[in-house]
Symmetry: C2
Subunit: 701 residues, 2 copies
Amino acid sequence: MAKGHLNFYCWMKTKNTYQKLFSPQSIAIVGASNKKGKIGTIIAENISKLGYKGKTYLINPAYKFLGFKRCYPSLSAVKKEIDVAIICVPAKFVLGVVKEGMQNVKNFVIISAGFSEIGAEGAKREQELIALAKKNNLNILGPNCLGFINPIVNLNASFAAGMPKAGNVAFVSQSGALIVGLLDKAKEEHMGFSNVISIGNQMQVDEADILEYLAEDKETKVIGMYLEGIKDGSRFLKVAKKVSQKKPIVILKAGKTEQAQKAISSHTGALAGSDEIVDVAFKSAGIIRADNLDDFFALLGLISFTDAPKNGQMAVITNAGGAGVLATDAFKNKEIALMEFSQKAKENFAKQLPSESSVHNPIDLLGDAGADRYQNILEMLKKENPGSTICILTPQQQTPVEEIAKIITSVKEKNKMSLAAVFIGGERIKNGVLHLKQNNIPNFSNPESCVRALDQYYRWSIFANEKTDEQKYAANADCKKIVSNIIKNAREQKRGALSFSEAANVMLEYGIDSGSFWIVSADGEKPEIKEFPVVAKIDSDKVLHKSDKQGVILNIKNSGELEEALKALGQNFPGEKVLVQPMQQKQVEIILGIKKDDIFGPVIVYGLGGIYTEIFHMADFLLPPMSEAEIKKQVLSGKIRFLFQGARGQKAYDAEEFSKIIKGIMDFALENSDIDGFDINPLFIYNDGRKASAVDIKIII
Amino acid sequence: MAKGHLNFYCWMKTKNTYQKLFSPQSIAIVGASNKKGKIGTIIAENISKLGYKGKTYLINPAYKFLGFKRCYPSLSAVKKEIDVAIICVPAKFVLGVVKEGMQNVKNFVIISAGFSEIGAEGAKREQELIALAKKNNLNILGPNCLGFINPIVNLNASFAAGMPKAGNVAFVSQSGALIVGLLDKAKEEHMGFSNVISIGNQMQVDEADILEYLAEDKETKVIGMYLEGIKDGSRFLKVAKKVSQKKPIVILKAGKTEQAQKAISSHTGALAGSDEIVDVAFKSAGIIRADNLDDFFALLGLISFTDAPKNGQMAVITNAGGAGVLATDAFKNKEIALMEFSQKAKENFAKQLPSESSVHNPIDLLGDAGADRYQNILEMLKKENPGSTICILTPQQQTPVEEIAKIITSVKEKNKMSLAAVFIGGERIKNGVLHLKQNNIPNFSNPESCVRALDQYYRWSIFANEKTDEQKYAANADCKKIVSNIIKNAREQKRGALSFSEAANVMLEYGIDSGSFWIVSADGEKPEIKEFPVVAKIDSDKVLHKSDKQGVILNIKNSGELEEALKALGQNFPGEKVLVQPMQQKQVEIILGIKKDDIFGPVIVYGLGGIYTEIFHMADFLLPPMSEAEIKKQVLSGKIRFLFQGARGQKAYDAEEFSKIIKGIMDFALENSDIDGFDINPLFIYNDGRKASAVDIKIII
């Protein structure tokens, strides 16, 4: 709950002050210089020479003037409120600068390197700055960043060169070098930006803060992020989920492999998490994940230039049959599909096209198609109401490429279509493609990239249109108390894990049943058991792999055999308690666990148990908190859905019951975030009315 | 065997005559014209105006002269041998032209459309031409194609515009329109071609013929093909496998989806096969499969420009940490890997670089790196002997892009490195990238594409260096006779399938055992069975799903029970035979079958049986013929390898025995290509010394 408040506070803060940080009316450059090649010189020039109309203050005690402009010895010497200060002095002086300036400046951008990325000394500097910022309500971007650019107000407060075109793409990056490369490429693509923000070490202002700001920024239509690590995974997801409802977030997340994770920690000091969990997490927040730099760029271009597909049914027209075939291939395993045209439409197409044309989707206009065929078919497509239309072209000898580009542009504008182009070629298509881009039509170099990007855009639009209820987790105080007492008690006894009976009691609090069982000691009283066969196991946290150590005796058929069994166990494990359970008939074995992810915290893992888990990798991940309904939806679309769908004439297993169990484990995970390990292996589930039963439970404390 | 001879003949033919077809010293254009926009005009101009030095003859009875050049009424009127004739007259006249010309012309290229792609009438035209070609030993490329271009001799015998740069890439395409687009793009990429061939309907000269020709063509280093269908799958694979040992074949194969297959059949009339089998087939022949147009292009560029990685250990240097992280990610699930540098090397790198640099792979030269850092590190890398080196660059303000490009070029040439570049940007990198391409250094727009392409190139080099013995299938005449008698007999009885006992006898011929069994009739003599329990099943091809129809009685424990069972079966299925088998204890169930692929013929499918097959898709495909050793290798690397590796402490199942069984089925499939269906389901296999047993066998005839 405390966390919830904090988020609300951040949200408010965003609206009030990030506007001043990223779209300031006055700006100071601390460490401004005129020495060639110095960062302070480059940034001062970028701010003063690229059209920024706000007030600019140069700060450097070494100068009275820099060029014809007055230079102040310190921030406070300006004696006016300044919206943001850009700090370019060496790391060791930064704290002093902020301390001195915070009377009249609340927003800082620390360009300087020499912080947590260099190790302990730098990390200490960050700690001091964080404390200062917290106490004095400051916003600090960086350190170790490139700065930011706001092309809408012609402000380049970074040491990247030039001023990108103004537009609707916000680009946020943890790598400064990639910003430079992508801005250079963006120029070619006629892509325009609302914001370009280098977040560096994310010491204080982090990706989630910036997402919140950009969600409210009217100039921004799409947010693109290059991330290596994520600072606070669960807050990030919460914010991203909210923002995704308003505008698409496209993320290129690096650090997929163990090796890449090594490269990152030497790079920005961020911790990268397991990539599969990142996938699940992003999907749950409606984030579009880009596969690589080119896809990232293509997605931003597509979303910047055109509307999301209105529905999942796409139309494709082409002057090259082969390219049409490649486009058709590209729809394999996609959410979007090639639409089936109405009979009427096909007849109308046929009237406008030579007899050898194909009037099925993709419509083949043939190699000698001029602009008229593109125009006629595009106009007629309106009635068919495709979600989006893809226009493919290869430059045949007789193809009037520019004319076709112009026709596509005008029909798109007239009919307000969601449209993308795939012009394939080089020199011969250059002018046509230029015309497309200047008129907000995205062009792809191959049909597959186009279909893939449209599919991702469409999936986002589905997410944005679905009402998702925010999952609030309400702790059950009673339950929490009982469970924490059990755990506390075991910890006090210096035990590393709960015994089965303790674990079973904990699980009962979360609605998960282990069936009936008895705890006895070898030399103590015998339970009165009426239903045989039973199994007897040592119930000790010291004996975790019971079967390996002969701590389990199966198939005990009567009380005589039980007595024998208890005696044997008592000899092998003197002083330990014994757990007696009815032998449960195995139907389907499930494994359930909690994995602690470095970024996103506890993650619920569930899948087929037995040999299946390891060999078939039939496991899925879920991120708490989720509602039971949401869990059920995931279970029914996950890897073991076949169990709950009644595959192969089998009666379906109970998805509702299973979702309740997962919900219980989620609650347990959230309320007991300090436990070291958890799994239920196996959980038996049945499709004949019997209740699911957690046959073995391990809770490592 | 007959087939083998045919291939040998084709191989000879290639050497003798395709040279004249694709690199002619004299050429005739039938249907040459001077009317604007006519194909005959465009081709005549392309041949005469782009620098071709051979003899050119214009053929058109309507003219005596075209421009200043003599025009002949017919091919024969030239009265000289002509290496190749390009035919551009309407389809209905083509047969006449070939008939008339074949006295002095043996090679024809039919540009004209109006053949099998338009249906029955056109298909008939092809039949007539094929017959003529066969009788008179002609080579005919097309019909319905763009023609071909041989930039080495400046010959553009197509209606695509211009003359591509001469080089070492041979590009073969089933789509003319894609040729046009890709050649236009190739110009930008400075890619040079040895041959550009449009194969159209592949009426006679097909992809395999052309592969054979290009394998021998000294100008060609890499063969790129865009294919929609494949004419003769098994011949194609055989040829491709041989060619892949000499030079890489890169194929963009369209027609992955059902829908795409529809688009193709309306496009060139070719049949597309199941995509998963195409993957397996290509892999078996060492073919590099491109995912999409961009990858296709990137692969051709890489192979055209640089040598294959010398080993699987790659080095990466970068001036952008983020791009290095993305490169590291890209090595996930690849055959190539980031190499570990020696301690000595790392120390040497450190001496040359600022202290904040990373000397681990990828080596981070930092954003302010000049050409010297690239040069020093590249020179020092020589000693580490990386398989290939990837040079990444983003254009920071201070980055001397062109100078770095020049340094990379010179070090690469000096040290004869396999090297690729990833310069990320737009305008700022343009000149640098131009310099790279002009000097045969491939540049990729993102690290992932680069690593992926290098990985594919490396896998090809492994294939090319492995000695693969050609698989010759030697039929066993005795066995074939016995089996064909059994099948013939069943067919004569108008039965749709073999009975179990027949099928079991067939399988025995191929070394596959069904264990002991007895065939009895309900009212006939009873077998003397000593080992119980047994199972009794109706043995009739009319009752294929026995268990569904109560045709199976399990767990018969003694002769009394057997008598009962036989009586019951006799009542339910009067007159049918009954199969009695010992009850076999199930350990692992395997399913084996033969799938008939439209392109590649019989394909062996094997996988886990039971519910596993459908739910887990644990099935693999193998294309006969293969040696037992090759089969074993595949089994040990396929989806059910875990069985034969002894996973989870289990004793391994017998891979040798299993491979022999697959080999038997392969032989059966090749010798009995006319059967309609085959499966063994289940085959029981054991890891305790018991022999594998085909519990049920279906052979549909």
